[in-house]
């Protein structure tokens, strides 16, 4: 025992090992019958928050075209630099994306692209199960982004900060 160490004078019921053991055993036994907290993952799923920012999705117009007008805001705002956009122009002078790719590996799911998009075209979605066998599989092209069907993220609203 070192010198100068403060020795606490504890009451007897706190220094008793046997009584503390019995108390501990009562606690663990009680827990045997309490409700289990595990979610049996592939069978049961956690309900996602409406603000969950997961796999991207490109929304489409009624005639099945991407809403994107290739304005270039999302690759500019993207902090992870994961959006590749090559703009094109049709004969009427409407801009559309020739190439629109998102690297889901580089993405940090900040949701800035959705926030900045003037056409409400690109969205982050309430979806997270996106495993692939190769790295290349994580680069989603425009077709794939349009084919996603999951619900999209509701962004944080300053007027309703708690989402009520």
């Amino acid at each position: 025992m070192a010198i100068g160490v403060k020795v606490l004078e504890r009451p007897i019921e706190q220094t008793s090992y046997l009584r503390a053991t019995l108390k501990g055993m009562a606690l663990t036994f009680k827990h045997m019958f309490s409700e289990k907290v595990t979610i049996q993952y592939p069978d049961q799923k956690w309900s996602l928050s409406p603000r969950w920012r997961g796999t991207h999705r490109m929304l489409t117009t009624e005639d099945g075209k991407a809403k994107c007008v290739a304005c270039g805001l999302c690759p500019t705002v993207c902090p992870a630099n994961c959006i590749k956009l090559v703009p094109g122009e049709d004969e009427k002078g409407n801009r559309y994306p020739l190439v629109f790719e998102i690297d889901e590996f580089r993405c940090i799911f900040c949701g800035y692209c959705q926030e900045v998009c003037p056409e409400e075209a690109i969205h982050v979605g309430r979806h997270y199960e996106n495993s692939e066998y190769s790295r290349e599989g994580f680069v989603y092209d425009l077709e794939r982004l349009m084919a996603q069907t999951h619900p999209v993220c509701e962004m944080w609203d300053p007027a309703d900060p708690k989402g009520e």
Binding site: I3, V7, F29, F33
Partner: protein
């Protein structure tokens, strides 16, 4: 395995040799099968109990969880066996078997049911009903340490060796307390044959169970059995945080799982011993019909089931403690063994011996309820003393235990002296330079 077979032949069979050998063979095969499957299921039980205590579900995928032991076994058999370059191979291979065999062989002498008067004569429900059953168990219990020590030594790895050393120190220390704790039982039974111990406890069960008449001895035996089987809170030989995995760090595949089989085998054996020595063996409490003739097959079956129920309870108790108490510090472990359990056990022998003599002089028959009731009353008193007087930070010393004032004074003097010497030395150095 030579010794128990030899002992089998020594244990003078009442019927013809042929029937005796046939019955023993059948008992061995049936028992071994149940034992091994039981151990496999215990690995599942441990995971389930641990899960429940932590509010989880536990394994529930392979065949709703029931086939998990089979899946684990299959995986371990198919895995690659690795041998460290520096390991001493013969002992490295021998050690897992050495850990398991004593636990298995101990079972040879434990009576697990009422004898059966079959049409071929009486068949004892123990593989080898030795007249010296209890001494045989004590002899084998001390062999159990070899597996772990040899594993630690032959791995040629410092962590393994430390684990092996710890386990040898721990087992040797607690074996003494364990042996001493069983002496009151033998005093009451007046014999070392285990079926005598069971018979004596059956008198006015459960009041005459040794757990009631020698409660303190049972508590000591319980703690020592935890230490002997290297279960938490005494699993210092494999303390992960300090020794990786202790003695089985270097083992892989089936040899690794052999140590687990050994651990669970030891648990079952220790539970069976506890049931036999302190909880009436195969005796069914509150009834007397199970101890008297005629010894039908149904009676044997029921008492055997009851015995296994008792074992299962103690196995559950082991798991319960494991998920309740954290691991001891090494000095706490040694202090508990030598400074608490051993003196308490020795004192208790004297107390019980005195009480038995006193009660016999007073004229109570050892099988009467007055005799056992008086002992039980004494034990209730002693347990209260243990819980409320003795156990004040003395049984397991906490980090904040009190320091004796005299001790503190002496330590202060020592440091004052040392400080004075150091300052003198500094002055001398200053003069020189």
């Amino acid at each position: 395995m030579v010794m128990p077979v030899f002992a089998l032949l020594q244990a003078a069979p009442p019927q013809s040799m042929g029937i005796f050998i046939a019955a023993t063979l059948v008992k061995m095969i049936v028992f071994f099968t149940i034992y091994m499957i039981g151990i496999a299921m215990l690995t599942l039980a441990e995971r389930k109990v641990s899960a429940w205590m932590q509010d989880r579900h536990g394994p529930n995928r392979v065949g709703k969880g029931w086939l998990q032991p089979a899946a684990d076994g299959l995986k371990n058999i198919m895995k690659e066996e690795t041998y460290p370059d520096a390991a001493y191979t013969p002992l490295f291979i021998l050690a897992p078997a050495m850990a398991f065999i004593p636990a298995l062989v101990t079972w040879a002498v434990i009576p697990f049911g009422a004898p059966w008067d079959s049409s071929w004569g009486r068949i004892e429900m123990a593989l080898a009903p030795l007249p010296i059953g209890f001494l045989f168990i004590l002899a084998l219990a001390s062999l159990g340490v070899y597996g772990i020590v040899l594993a630690g030594w032959s791995s040629n790895n410092k962590y393994s060796l430390l684990g092996g050393l710890r386990s040898s120190a721990q087992m040797v220390s607690y074996e003494i307390a364990m042996g001493m704790a069983t002496i009151p039982v033998l005093l009451l039974a007046g014999n070392v044959a285990l079926n005598q111990v069971v018979e004596q406890q059956a008198a006015v069960a459960p009041l005459s169970w040794n757990a009631a008449t020698c409660t303190i001895a049972w508590l000591i035996f319980l703690v020592a059995a935890f230490a002997e089987t290297n279960r938490l809170p005494f699993d210092l030989p494999e303390a992960e945080s300090e020794l990786i995995a202790g003695y089985h760090s270097e083992y892989s595949a089936m040899k690794f799982s052999m140590f687990f089989i050994a651990e669970y085998g030891n648990m079952v054996t220790a539970s069976a011993l506890m049931a036999t020595l302190f909880f009436g063996g195969w005796d069914i409490p509150f009834t007397a019909w199970d101890n008297v003739a005629p010894h039908t097959g149904m009676k044997t079956l029921l008492t055997t089931l009851f015995f296994f129920a008792k074992i299962l309870f103690f196995v559950f108790f082991y798991m319960w403690i494991r998920w309740t108490l954290p691991r001891f510090r090494y000095d706490q472990l040694m202090a508990l063994g030598w400074k608490v359990l051993l003196p308490v056990a020795l004192t208790y022998i004297v107390i019980v011996a005195g009480a038995i003599i006193g009660l016999q002089i007073a004229g109570f028959a050892p099988a009467s309820w007055q005799f056992n009731g008086a002992l039980f009353g004494m034990n209730v008193l002693l347990v209260l003393v243990l819980f409320f007087v003795l156990d004040r930070g003395r049984i397991v010393s906490p980090a904040y235990s009190r320091l004796d004032p005299r001790h503190l004074e002496r330590l202060r003097e020592v440091t004052a002296d040392r400080a004075a010497h150091q300052s003198l030395g500094r002055v001398a150095q200053g003069v020189r330079s």
